[in-house]
Each structure stands twice: as structure tokens, then as C-alpha cells.
């Protein structure tokens, strides 16, 4: 029997990190957390996760994209799905929300969601991405 899938949550907001962890654990996943991309890289090399959920704006505006791009360019991690979950709004100022799959591919991410997430939609997306990789809880 396979282990439960491992999900890495990267977010600089401790409360949100805990909420997502709680949600994912209730969904039947194992969760590991990192508060910034640097710590995430450390956690990745220790244990390779099956999926990554990352915030966008952390120490810098596009920290989430930067992390994701770095992973997709690394053969060891390129296949790990990445979900961006962000509170960066798309109505005003800088709009980074993708318009479609092409945008998402250009951003090197597999899903893009607004914060806070709808728990059902979020878990469904996680399941879908893991299934496409042949990993399910």
C-alpha cells in the first residue's frame, strides 16, 4: 500500500498555512510547511512532495512564480504540480491572474486560485492534479 501523497504548503502567513494544512489533512493528505521559498527548497530536497501549494507575494512580489519557475526548470522537480494561492487581487493595479491554460503554462503553474480558497474546489483541484500524476490518497 502506497503512502498518502505529501503536499508542501509555502506561505508566509502562519494562520493561512495552518488552515490549509488542516484542510489538506482532513482531505487525507500528509502536509509539510515552509514559510518562504528558501525554506521550501530545503524541504524539497529533504523529501520530494507530490504537489506544492504556494503563496504568490512573499518576500517579493512574484516569489511564488519564481519558486515554480525554478522547479519546472529542474529535472528532479519539474513534474511536481504547483498551485498558486494568492490574495493579490486582479481588479486593480497589477493583474497577474492567468486568463487560460496558455497563461498558466507561461507562468509555470498548474493552477491559480484566489485566497481564501473554496475548500471543495481546492480539494477537487488537488485531487485532479494528483490523479493526473497517478497519485491519489
Amino acid at each position: 500500500m502506497q503512502d498518502k501523497p505529501l503536499i508542501l504548503v509555502v506561505d508566509d502567513d502562519a494562520d493561512f498555512r495552518e488552515a490549509i494544512q488542516c484542510l489538506l489533512e482532513a482531505g487525507g493528505y500528509r502536509v509539510t510547511c515552509a514559510r518562504n521559498p528558501q525554506d521550501a527548497l530545503g524541504a524539497l530536497s529533504a523529501t520530494k512532495p507530490d504537489l506544492i501549494v504556494t503563496d504568490l507575494m512573499m518576500d517579493r512580489l512574484d516569489a511564488g512564480f519564481q519558486l515554480s519557475r525554478g522547479l519546472k526548470q529542474n529535472n528532479d522537480f519539474a513534474e511536481i504540480p504547483v498551485i498558486i494561492v494568492t490574495a493579490v487581487g486582479s481588479q486593480l493595479g497589477l493583474d497577474v491572474s492567468p486568463r487560460g491554460d496558455d497563461d498558466m503554462a507561461a507562468m509555470n503553474v498548474d493552477a491559480y486560485m484566489d485566497k481564501p480558497v473554496d475548500p471543495d474546489r481546492f480539494l477537487a483541484k488537488v485531487r485532479e492534479l494528483l490523479e493526473s500524476r497517478g497519485r491519489e490518497a
Partner: protein, 495 residues
């Protein structure tokens, strides 16, 4: 205009001649003065002046006609001088006209023989005067025009907006100094220069404006040239709805505005993000609780409720800080400077934070040097109080239990130095450098879970700036931080 009669001077030594002329001329509507010789005539001419015409006898005692003519002509060249002579020879006529006479009347003469040359002369004089007047007006107009042109050129060249004018042949026929500055390459070309020498986007706008025909079309566009942003307005130049004679384009440098716009957008993005963060945490926690996902872990459930409450409070602080920041940035922060005793204010600020310090078992002390209270500060009480409590509150927040926060004050020349020193978690040089930035919060394992808006120090620096003071930080990770505020004191006399 004809209220004044034309005045004629008759100079003759024969009384009969004088009076005869007078009667004839007065009957014609002229005003007539008479003199009995050249000398008297010249004297009268100089004293009364304003004569249009003089009839002068050639031979007179004291001063003859020729001498009179010479003198008067020199002083009033437009006066009609007619010489009356019994010796009507070519020689005398030539001599008289040489000296400035208009003509001569041979004696004896009938009234008509006299009146005819007088009328002719006056008519000629009127024409000459009119011509002179016109000439003068023309000269004035030319001067005015030259002045206007130079005025226009000066105004155009003093404008900060760049102006180009293109004629129907698509040549740039005018450009001002600002235009030359924006396009230095183009400025070195002779005027007129072909439109194709202008950057394509400008040439295109000019062509578009020119092609607009009877209804003038004003074309506006934001463009980028050599790394700067310009708002371009192009409009056709036409007289009274006629075919465009050309087009004029005005470029205004809006780089500053664009930067401001971008900064504003960025600020709004940051604000939205910072507001959504605590909301996302609260909503996520409450959602988990409502869905019963933590009901098996009452301790965790309680913790989530408490964290939600803390985040809600943090959100309220954030909104209040945002209001203050906006008030400060728009110059609407209500700053009322009054003489303040710094020691008293510091004590109040320390007292306000003492409960929080006690709760964390942090030793909070105030140590004011004797010199500190010697001079008052001219400062806004609420503003300064918020700076001090913010610094002390931060020190308590970022110092682990059992630590120490020391507030010190001492005179430093003409200013007062206030130091808030802690032996808390400290900051790296990178973190220290950014700590006054809007929304910047150091994020590491030691700062996690410590609430903050990321605006407190931005506000503090803004308020200190308004007091012409300085705020600085020295820090080292694990060793603690020292925030120093320096404020100018009032001086002994005023305090």
C-alpha cells in the same frame, strides 16, 4: 476734426497788400494773421505756430522773403510757403524754391490768382501729411508685428511642452526649444525638414491630423520616446473651416505622472493584498470550524477562534494605519505643534506599554539623562506619542519573554535623542534596511505569529519627518535592536 480753421500767415510790408490778402482768404474760410516784415513774421510764426501756409513778400525791410522762407522751412518743412514777388523772374523763383518755397505768385494778382496756388499747396500738404501719417502707422504696425513675432517666439521657446508645426508639403516648419531638447537628432536638421525625419509615431499623428479635412480632428495619444512618456496632441491648422494648412503637435512630458500612477496602482495592490491576508486567514479558520473539520480537536478549534479574533483586530489596526498613512501622504495629518516636556511624554508612553511588557515578563525601563528635560520640544503631542508607543510596543513585541526594553533620552547638541533599545530577536542588515518601507515586515521563524500592519514604522518615520527629525535603526540578529529618534529642541529662550 475741422473745428479748427486752417491758419495762414501773410507777411508783407504793404498794408494794402496785407489787408487785401486777409479779406480774400478770410472770405474763403481761412484764419489769417499778418506781419509787416520777415522779422515780425518769423517771430509770430515761432510764437503762435500751427500755420499751414504763409504768403511772403519778397522785398521787405529788416528781413526779406527768401530769408524768412529759409528759416521757416527749416523749422516746419510741411508748411506751404508762397512767395509774392513783383520781380517774377526765373532766377528768383528758382532761388525761392531752393530755399523751401512751394511756389510764387507774381504781382499784381487777382484774388483767384492768389487762391489757386494756396488751395493747391494746402491740398498737396494735406496729402503729404496723410502719407506721412500712413507711413508712420505702417512703421508702427511693422514694429508691433516684429514685437509680436518675437513675443510669440519667446513664449513658444519658454514652453515646457514641445511644439512642432508641419505645413501642407509635409515639412516641419517650426519647432520650439523644448522640441529640440526632446529630439536632439532632429533639432540639428535645417528648417524646414521633411516630416519623415520625425519619429514615426509623431509623423503618423501629424499626418492623421492633417488628413482630417473640414472637421478638425484632434488626435491624442500617450507615447514613449527615449525612455520618457509623452502625451501627444495633434490638431490641424486651418483658417475658418478651410482646408488644413498644416498641423500642430504638442508633446507634454508625463513621465512623472506615469510614475505616480504606477506607484498608486502598486500601493492599491499592496493594500488589497494586506487586507485580504487577515481576511483569508479568518475566513479559512471559520470555514474549517463551520464544516466541523476540527470538532475532534477542541483545543485546536479554540486556538483557531482566538487567532481569528487576533487577525480581525490586526485588520482593524491596519485600516486605521492606512487612514493615517493616507492623511500623511495627502498632507492632511492634523499636526499641531506645542511646547512639550519630553520626559513627561516619554513616561506616559512607557506607562502605556507597561502592561504588555509585564504580560511578557519583559523589564521595561525609562532612563532620562538630566539634560533631556532641560529644553522643550515643539511637537504634535498625539503624533509624537504614537511614534514613541509604536517603537516601545515593537520592542516588546520582538523581544522574547524575560527580555529587556530600555528607553533612554539625552540631549545631543541642539537636538534630543530618544533611544528604544531591546535585547530581542534583532534584524539582519537587509531587514533593517527595509524596515521603514510600507508593508514591509521581516518574515522568519522568530517573527512568525507576531501581529503587525507593516505600516507602523512607515508612519513613525513620516511623523518624525514632519518634525524635521530623524529616525534610524541599528540591529543584529539575536542581539536586539536600537531605534533612535532625534528631534530638534526649542532652545532655552523659547522654552
Amino acid at each position: 476734426m475741422n473745428a479748427e480753421k486752417t491758419r495762414i500767415l501773410v507777411v508783407d510790408d504793404e498794408l494794402g497788400m496785407r489787408e487785401g490778402c486777409r479779406r480774400t482768404l478770410e472770405a474763403e474760410g481761412y484764419e489769417v494773421d499778418t506781419a509787416e516784415d520777415g522779422m515780425a513774421g518769423l517771430e509770430l510764426f515761432r510764437r503762435r505756430g500751427g500755420y499751414a501756409c504763409a504768403l511772403v513778400d519778397m522785398k521787405m525791410p529788416r528781413m526779406g522773403g527768401l530769408e524768412f522762407v529759409e528759416n521757416v522751412h527749416a523749422e516746419a518743412p510741411d508748411m506751404v510757403l508762397l512767395v509774392i514777388t513783383a520781380y517774377a523772374t526765373i532766377d528768383t523763383a528758382v532761388e525761392a524754391t531752393k530755399r523751401g518755397a512751394y511756389g510764387y505768385i507774381p504781382k499784381p494778382f487777382t484774388p483767384d490768382e492768389m487762391l489757386l496756388p494756396v488751395r493747391n499747396g494746402l491740398e498737396r500738404r494735406a496729402l503729404a501729411l496723410e502719407a506721412a501719417q500712413l507711413r508712420k502707422e505702417r512703421e508702427n504696425r511693422l514694429l508691433e508685428l516684429a514685437y509680436e513675432r518675437s513675443q510669440c517666439a519667446t513664449i513658444l521657446n519658454c514652453m515646457t511642452d514641445a511644439v512642432f508645426v508641419v505645413n501642407r508639403e509635409r515639412e516641419v516648419v517650426l519647432r520650439n526649444d523644448a522640441a529640440a531638447k526632446i529630439l536632439p537628432d532632429f533639432a540639428s536638421l535645417p528648417v524646414p525638414a521633411p516630416l519623415s525625419c520625425l519619429p514615426e509615431v509623431l509623423g503618423g499623428l501629424l499626418a492623421e491630423a492633417m488628413a482630417s479635412g473640414a472637421t478638425p480632428l484632434i488626435v491624442s495619444k500617450d507615447i514613449e520616446l527615449a525612455g520618457r512618456n509623452y502625451m501627444v496632441n495633434a490638431s490641424p491648422v486651418a483658417e475658418h473651416g478651410g482646408e488644413p494648412l498644416g498641423a500642430v503637435v504638442v508633446l507634454r512630458d508625463i513621465s512623472q505622472l506615469k510614475k505616480l500612477e504606477a506607484a498608486k496602482s502598486m500601493f492599491i495592490t499592496m493594500v488589497a493584498h494586506e487586507v485580504k491576508r487577515p481576511l483569508a486567514a479568518i475566513e479559512s479558520f471559520l470555514d474549517l470550524i463551520c464544516r466541523g473539520m476540527v470538532k475532534d480537536n477542541p483545543e485546536k478549534e479554540r486556538e483557531m477562534i482566538e487567532r481569528s479574533l487576533a487577525r480581525a483586530r490586526n485588520l482593524r489596526d491596519l485600516i486605521s494605519d492606512l487612514m493615517n498613512i493616507t492623511a500623511m501622504q495627502t498632507g492632511k495629518l492634523n499636526i499641531r505643534r506645542i511646547p512639550l516636556d519630553p520626559v513627561g511624554l516619554l513616561q506616559e508612553a512607557v506607562d502605556a506599554c507597561s502592561d504588555k511588557a509585564k504580560g511578557k515578563n519583559i523589564e521595561l525601563t525609562l532612563n532620562c539623562d538630566q539634560s533631556a528635560g532641560a529644553e522643550k520640544l515643539l511637537a504634535d503631542r498625539n503624533g509624537l506619542f504614537s511614534v514613541l508607543t509604536n517603537l516601545i510596543d515593537n520592542a516588546v513585541k520582538y523581544t522574547p519573554s524575560g527580555g529587556r526594553v530600555q528607553v533612554e533620552a539625552r540631549r545631543n547638541g541642539a537636538s534630543l535623542s530618544i533611544l528604544v533599545r531591546d535585547n530581542g530577536i534583532g534584524m539582519s542588515p537587509e531587514e533593517s534596511a527595509r524596515v521603514f518601507e510600507e508593508f514591509y515586515r521581516a518574515n522568519n521563524e522568530r517573527t512568525e505569529g507576531i501581529p503587525g500592519t507593516g505600516l507602523g514604522l512607515t508612519l513613525a518615520r513620516g511623523i518624525v519627518d514632519l518634525h524635521h527629525g530623524q529616525i534610524a535603526v541599528e540591529s543584529a540578529p539575536g542581539k536586539g535592536s536600537v531605534f533612535t529618534v532625534s528631534l530638534p529642541t526649542m532652545g532655552k529662550k523659547q522654552s
